[in-house]
Amino acid sequence: MTEAKKSEVLQGTLDLMILKTLHALGSQHGFGIARRIEQVSRDVLQLNEGTVYTSLLRLLQQKWIAAEWGTSENNRKAKFYSITARGEKQLAVETENWERISGVVGRVLELEGER
């Protein structure tokens, strides 16, 4: 897969990925989250790192994550995000949802293929 063929991040899935990242790694700043997604996706996904912040704001508004100011590794001021109990619950629900939907979509695509 060449650089040009990277997939766009499906709308809405970024929220789920960030929740999962915070769930796995604990408190992180935006830069850290972007690195983690980059690392996990192994360059499959084309991520505009800025959109991470939009997603973070959305999650904050739902109170699924919390934020506080702290100091980064190289001693600079940074905002740290962590998942809340509510966020954990949501993560479980959405994970299940996602699996189901992707199942459906998968089946639909298989059907298409049979024709």
Binding site: G30, G50, L57, Q61, K63, A78
Partner: protein
């Protein structure tokens, strides 16, 4: 994870809060972004890039910061205009695709909203905010209530002395004004016209805070003895009699013999005391007489000091009234209580329950309409489940779907509201025309105003939210996969319709039965009222007030010198059957007097209504004699002290003894300006009872028990007013001109005031209130019935349409058409029956609430009404079931099965 840009409650709260901390968070964000870019640059540099290249690469990897800012702004603002526009366009498109649904929903909502807007306008303008004055809520009137009498009502006219005593001795009013009625005779080139005039005390206009529209209001200087006589005109009269010509200002008019200058014209909403002309006059101590030599009656209006309650005011006024009662015991009942009433209550008190009953009916109508729309939305949502599931799979969150549906119902509600407002605008005119006279304050203008519009807006938005949200939530709650699998025409078993739709239909039927029962009761009671016999025949009778100039008609003898030739002249006119003088117009029974009957002693006070009449009275009104005879012409001319009484008088005071020859004393006649000495009257005849305790606007007028009544020759004592009644062969108004000529031929300075047909007047006074309720309840009852029919029909039609496939299978397996027909009708009637049961219970519980509105012969549990309305509803319901059932029975199994 779906699109979380929807309307989650928490996100909503965050957005609201976000609005507050906007700046701070933006600068935080800039810092964060800057930091992130810095870290990326560091990383690229570490990987060996030049600082410049690293900066560009970092920006590329981070993406467009401006777009980001926009995204964030959208998240932080309450509604994204763009999204809303998209949803709106979508909603409009999808509504346009199903025009039948849209039309029925909008019409249904329009009816409900229109009716409730119209009635709320009346309630708001008549009951809630009738007066354009600032402190209207603090303005109260005082009434002397005889505790021996039932109704919470009492005398509210006071002598000058009483008025001044209340005005000066109280501790509870900031200000007190008074007004006293005066019929003003306006003499001009062609003849004499009568105006409703009011004498008003100094400070009246300041009290209301009302400046004049043109010219000026009355000023303290106008009350001085040497001040030139002036007056102020009411807007309505100015428009009607002077065509709104501003040149009449500062002209001089001859009013009741005095040349007065018109100094001001009031604005349209000034109608204090319902007078046409306002004349300055202050009550003076010791001056007790007013119009026609009778006791001046000052109506008192006080403005409560801030913080003073009505109870405190009543207590304070009671002290003064007790003192006055000691000075003038004859003017006060033995046991009385001072009532303090709000100005509005003193005028609208009697129509209030009627209006609230109608408002309640309209509320029910709106509820039925909402039920219909909710059901339509539910049905529609169910058939769209596949569409929703598909959208959800494509990434639309539940919140987004709910918002879409809500916008659809909002569009419906707002269109309904627009339709409703236009219907209300038209309907309001008819309602105002149907309103009984004299029951709404002169100042109130019934129109759609901002409050009413706000009410409509709130009602329609609430309708949309409540009745759109439930279907929306239900429709989107379902699992994503189910609907995709379900063909929507599968066999689910029986004719079970969605439980929620069932519940709505049951609710609708119950509410509409309640509405129908209420309407039925009000209608029956109106019919019962029409069947009551008044005791007289009012048809073909012309009536008019004849205000006699005071200076030349001071005594009863002078009055009779005018009427004797006039009545003789009238009787000679072609087309006139008979004519008479009287001192009261039916359905009023005349003045109240304490009475004595010779040879009878009693503890309690005895009262009777009395009026002065001439010889033709009982013939003109066709009141039958039960025993004895009427007065002869000669007896009237000689002012013989004779009396005719009604049957109630005999049964109340004479215990059915032979009344003829007994003697009755009318104590009131001793207190007149021109008192009758020794007012003992010999009873010569007894007539049938005639309705005589009229009270404004309510059914009470005819229901009130008939009071004992006495008629005496008008020549015995000069009464306050003189009335002329003429029985004619043709329509009474055709005689108008001849009668007027006869009056002027007798005395050219006498005006024929307020002429009209007695029948119209009685209809207006006695039936207008109940007829108003009758009309509106009948209309709303019919609308309710129509709406509920549509409701039952649409639910069943929808259910059967969805089950076409199943019906086909059943019929292929051997089901008869009759079976199908029966099973559909049974499913529908089951709902109707449950609804009717609930409705009956509710009606019985609510029946008590409108008991006061009903005529006494109609009970709130009136079996005929209950049975009739139930039957009507069940038959209509069955009809609504029958049409879809027939359609179902016509299903061709082959077509239905192929129809996949």
């Amino acid at each position: 994870m779906g699109n979380r840009r929807g309307w989650g409650l928490r996100a909503f709260a965050a957005r609201v809060l976000g609005l507050l901390g906007y700046r701070k968070s933006e600068s935080d964000f800039d810092e964060e972004v800057h930091e992130h870019l810095q870290l990326l640059v560091d990383r690229f540099v570490a990987q060996g890039m030049s600082r410049e290249d690293a900066g560009a690469a970092a920006r590329r990897q981070f993406g467009n910061t401006t777009l980001l800012q926009e995204d964030r702004r959208e998240l932080r603002t309450l509604v994204s205009v763009e999204d809303l526009g998209r949803d709106l366009r979508y909603a409009l498109r999808s509504l346009r695709r199903s025009p039948a649904f849209t039309a029925v929903a909008i019409a249904t909502l329009g009816l409900g909203i229109g009716a409730s807007t119209a009635i709320f306008s009346v309630v708001d303008n008549v009951l809630l905010e009738p007066f354009p004055w600032k402190d209207a809520g603090h303005m109260v009137v005082l009434q002397i209530h005889d505790t021996a009498r039932g109704q919470e009502d009492g005398r509210q006219g006071y002598t000058s002395n009483e008025f001044l005593e209340f005005a000066e001795q109280n501790h509870v009013f900031d200000d007190v004004i008074g007004a006293s009625e005066d019929l003003v005779l306006y003499k001009h080139g062609e003849g004499v016209e009568a105006f409703d005039g009011a004498h008003i005390t100094p400070g009246t206009f300041e009290f209301f805070g009302m400046p004049a529209l043109y010219g000026r209001v009355l000023q303290p200087a106008d009350y001085r003895g040497d001040a030139p006589p002036v007056f102020v005109l009411r807007y309505k009269t100015w428009m009607q009699r002077f065509n709104g010509d501003p040149r009449v200002l500062n002209n001089t008019f001859i009013l009741s013999g005095t040349a007065r200058t018109l100094v001001g014209i009031m604005p349209p909403r000034f109608g204090w005391f319902d007078a046409e002309v306002y004349i300055p006059e202050a009550p003076l101590h010791g001056v007790a007489t007013g119009f026609a030599g009778t006791t001046a009656q000052w109506f008192l209006l006080g403005k409560l000091k801030p913080g003073v309650s009505k109870a405190q005011a009543a207590a304070d006024a009671t002290v003064i009234a007790n003192h006055l009662a000691k000075l003038n015991p004859q003017d006060y009942p033995a046991h009385f209580q001072v009532l303090v009433k709000h100005l509005g209550d003193s005028v609208v008190g009697r129509i209030e329950p009627t209006l609230y009953t109608i408002l309640a009916a309209v509320g029910l109508l709106l509820l039925i309409g909402c039920g219909n729309v909710a059901n339509l939305l539910l049905a529609r949502a169910t058939s769209r489940q596949k569409e929703f599931a598909l959208r959800a799979v494509m990434g639309a969150g539940r919140a987004r779907l709910v918002r879409l549906l809500l916008i659809e119902s909002l569009v419906l509600a707002i269109s309904g509201a627009a339709l409703g407002v236009s219907m209300a605008w038209g309907g309001l005119k008819s309602i105002v025309a149907a309103l009984p006279p004299d029951v709404i304050p002169a100042e109130s203008v019934i129109e759609l105003n901002p409050q009413v519009m706000a009410f409509t807006f709130v009602v329609s938005v609430l309708t949309a939210v409540i009745f759109g949200l439930a279907p929306a939530l239900q429709a989107t709650r379902r699992d994503l996969n189910d609907p995709l699998r379900d063909s929507g025409k599968g066999v689910i078993g029986g004719f079970r319709i969605g439980r929620m739709r069932d519940a709505v239909v049951v609710m609708e039927v119950a509410v509409s039965l309640t509405l129908l029962v209420g309407a039925g009761l009000v209608m029956r009671s109106f019919v019962a009222l029409r069947e009551l016999h008044l005791g007289l025949q009012a048809d073909h009778v012309l009536q008019a007030l004849l205000p006699l100039p005071e200076n030349r008609y001071k005594t009863a003898a002078q009055v009779s010198r005018f009427f004797q030739p006039l009545v003789a002249r009238l009787k000679a006119l072609p087309g006139v059957v008979d004519a008479t003088e009287s001192s009261a117009l039916p359905p009023y029974g005349g003045e109240d007097s304490r009475i004595e009957i010779s040879g009878r002693s009693h503890q309690d006070e005895w009262h009777a209504l009395f009026q002065g009449i001439s010889e033709g009275y009982f013939r003109v009104l066709r009141i039958p004699f039960k025993s004895g005879r009427a007065f002869s012409d000669a007896e009237v001319t000689d002012a013989r002290k004779l009396a005719v009484v009604n049957e109630t008088f005999v049964s109340t005071y004479l215990h059915a003894e032979n009344p003829v020859g007994q003697r009755v004393k009318l104590i009131q006649l001793e207190t007149l300006a021109d008192p009758a000495r020794d007012p003992w009257f010999e009873i010569v005849g007894v007539v049938g009872d005639v309705t005589n305790q009229y009270s404004f606007g309510s059914a009470q007028g005819l229901q009130a028990p008939i009071a004992p009544a006495v008629w005496v020759p008008y020549t015995v004592a000069r009464s306050e007013v003189q009335v002329l009644m003429v029985r004619s062969q043709q329509t009474p108004m055709a005689l108008m001109n001849d009668v007027r000529q006869a009056v002027w031929a007798t005395d050219s300075s006498v005006a024929l005031a307020f002429p009209g047909a007695l029948e119209d007047r009685i209809n207006e006074r006695l039936y207008a209130g109940p007829r108003f309720a009758f009309l509106l309840m009948a209309i709303f009852g019919c609308l309710g019935l129509t709406l509920v029919t549509i409701g039952v029909y649409s639910v069943l039609a929808y259910a059967t349409a969805r089950k076409t496939h199943e019906i086909g299978i059943r019929m292929a397996l051997g089901a008869e058409r009759a079976d199908v027909l029966r099973s559909v009708i049974r499913a529908g009637l089951r709902l109707v029956t449950v609804g009717v049961g609930i409705g009956l219970i509710v009606s019985l519980l609510l029946g008590r609430a409108i008991e006061a509105e009903l005529s006494r012969s109609v009970k709130p549990y009136d079996p005929a009404t209950l049975a009739g309305t139930t039957l009507l509803l069940v038959v209509t319901g069955a009809l609504a079931c029958w049409i879809p059932a027939r359609r179902a029975a016509r299903v061709d199994p082959m077509v239905a099965l192929r129809y996949e």
